[in-house]
Assembly symmetry: C2
Homo-oligomer: 363 residues x 2
């Protein structure tokens, strides 16, 4: 039986040609072959061509990336961790825009991008263990997630996106609280006095319903808490109290979820004249709910979203919403990481209220 010398290797794949093989077949040193690929200026064009040609003829596929990574200590790849599973991530326009920003920088930089799902914790832990990356960007992962500490354990540079603040780790985000304060103030200035809030999840436990102090105390997602505070800032200043049943939490960022929440809020008596939503998808669901309740937007109820995803401008009526630079957030996150993710890095990106058609003075 024709058989190669048995190798101490697990992979059943046929042993392939290595740089060494090419070198010896050619009677040159390994260095020379390596240089032919990686440092063309270190040898004569003639020799280089000869090497490459021979390599091709022998079926050499070029330097093995893994071996190079081990040798150089760099993978030229960043890891991106999403919470809530990839299915969620790729359905959420905000997450996609963020991803797009990250990807753009990676692309420009010749850096790979590895997606690490954090849906099932067990799987995620394995992923983090086995992923060959030079650093991580963490998007929307609850502080309490075990993945979080796993990643920190790797000792690799980390950038956090959309975390209020995290001493000792680089972060990028927006002033959620200020943005929401501004949006609410706008509604107050229009004359609104009765408000309802459709909130994103405070904690990754699937809770659905009104949000009271106990609920907020347990918050592991900074975003929801910061935004709610922003709403309150403005309301309190106007002498208005937001009762817990004026705030409906919906863990899922979908139109459907918000639809139901809006129906709950709009059925209260007295009915709120304005709905503050923590995402545009929620806002769209709220518009739909108002519609089916026979309420006109914005005449009977004003609605404000958050994010300013492309859809916000396209729905009818078009959405008044807080614009945040989602793709840019991704870009900055990637840039920060590529620059080493200095622990003191803190980038706050600007937001602005975009007034469109879903807001008006109350009837």
């Amino acid at each position: 039986m024709v058989q190669q010398k048995s190798r101490n290797q697990a992979s059943p794949a046929a042993r392939s040609v290595t740089l060494k093989d090419v070198a010896s077949a050619l009677g040159v040193s390994r260095t020379t072959v390596s240089n032919a690929y990686n440092r063309p200026d270190q040898l004569s064009d003639e020799l280089r061509d000869k090497v490459i040609l021979k390599a091709k003829a022998m079926g050499y596929r070029g330097p093995n990336p893994v071996a190079r990574q081990l040798r150089t200590g760099r993978t030229a790849t960043v890891g991106l961790v999403f919470s809530g599973g990839l299915t969620f991530a790729f359905e959420d326009p905000a997450a996609i825009a963020f991803l797009q920003g990250v990807a753009a920088v990676c692309e420009r930089n010749g850096t790979g991008l590895t997606i690490v799902p954090a849906e099932q914790e067990s799987a995620a832990e394995i992923m983090v263990r086995q992923a060959a990356v030079d650093g991580y960007i963490i998007y929307c992962l609850p502080r309490t997630s075990p993945i979080f500490s796993r990643i920190l354990d790797t000792g690799l540079p980390v950038v956090l996106a959309d975390y209020g603040d995290f001493p000792g780790i680089a972060t990028v985000g927006i002033d959620d609280r200020g943005a929401c304060r501004e949006a609410t103030q706008y509604l107050l200035d229009l004359g609104h006095r009765r408000f309802g809030v459709i909130a994103l999840e405070f904690s990754a436990d699937g809770y659905t319903g009104p949000v009271g102090v106990e609920r907020r105390a347990l918050a592991t997602f900074d975003t929801a808490e910061a935004r709610l505070r922003g709403y309150e800032d403005a309301l309190v200043r106007a002498g208005i109290t937001l009762t817990s049943d004026a705030v409906e939490e919906r863990p899922e960022n979908s139109e459907t979820a918000a639809y139901e929440a809006a129906r709950v809020l709009l059925s209260r008596n007295p009915r709120p004249t304005a709905l503050l939503c923590m995402s545009d998808r929620h806002a769209v669901g709220a518009i739909h709910a108002a519609d089916t309740l026979g309420l006109k937007v914005p005449d009977d109820v004003s609605i404000v979203g958050f994010d300013d995803v492309p859809m916000a401008a396209h729905v009818r009526p078009s959405l008044t919403t807080v614009h945040q630079p989602l793709a840019e957030k991704g870009q900055v996150a990637a840039e920060l990481l590529l620059a080493g993710a200095h622990p003191d890095s803190r980038r706050l990106l600007p937001t602005r209220l975009v007034v469109r058609e879903t807001t008006a003075p109350p009837a």
Copy 2:
């Protein structure tokens, strides 16, 4: 100056603790430490705990993934190559749905997913060289792209998505031609006789305008050509000829691009009573164009899309379109790859025409 023994290593990062260090500090063998992490059943719980504890105390971060990859010959990561740049990819609902499918399978399988951008060819070649993956899924990359041959050169398993046919490589796709034939037949049955087509790109050169035989001869994207053929199949059978100026190619899959194309087509005399679009985004742009031209959809003009992305059901009027299982396509691609991407694998997924509100008999 306190200085470690100089190391033959490029990375300026501080040398970190290795498995070997832990082993010697503990007076056990490297195997034992390795086993403590990878094969808990190979040593006593007691010893294992001792090892892990000591490792932690020493600041050992666990087995280095790259070293493991080199050693095992597996990276447990698949590469996903998109054409047209990531910015495009993450903006295109169809691409995202595909990605979602791929990601879901990877997640389930504990496999990483590395996105390889193929926007700039030079950068992409570098990426392919340096990416540590066990195989590639190629989505929408023109046959003529140099990346294509680079990837084939790696000798790694490859699965092609949405390529008509490719001898010797595993593929997954749909029967574009048949699906379009069916959609067209439906319009014919409604009584339509004058058609316009808004086409996706035939070749990645940015060409915009009517599509004649010369243009089609150069096609490097199978999808556009197959779909156009499908339209023609049905038309020819009905004795109708599609002239080249009844087909407007728009390389960009956006509402805006289609809007313009539709204005061109709907300005022809006689005006087509039906528009066949190769994507839902194109169809939505066409609806918009009809609207601004004062034409009612579907009374004055029927419009058919392709893909059945979520938006298709939500726009008003809701879109009659060809449904294709986008996420499932991604799933199958990933499954095929994980199963070794046998060159003979060919999976054709079912499509179906979803009739909604944008089609009706001609006036």
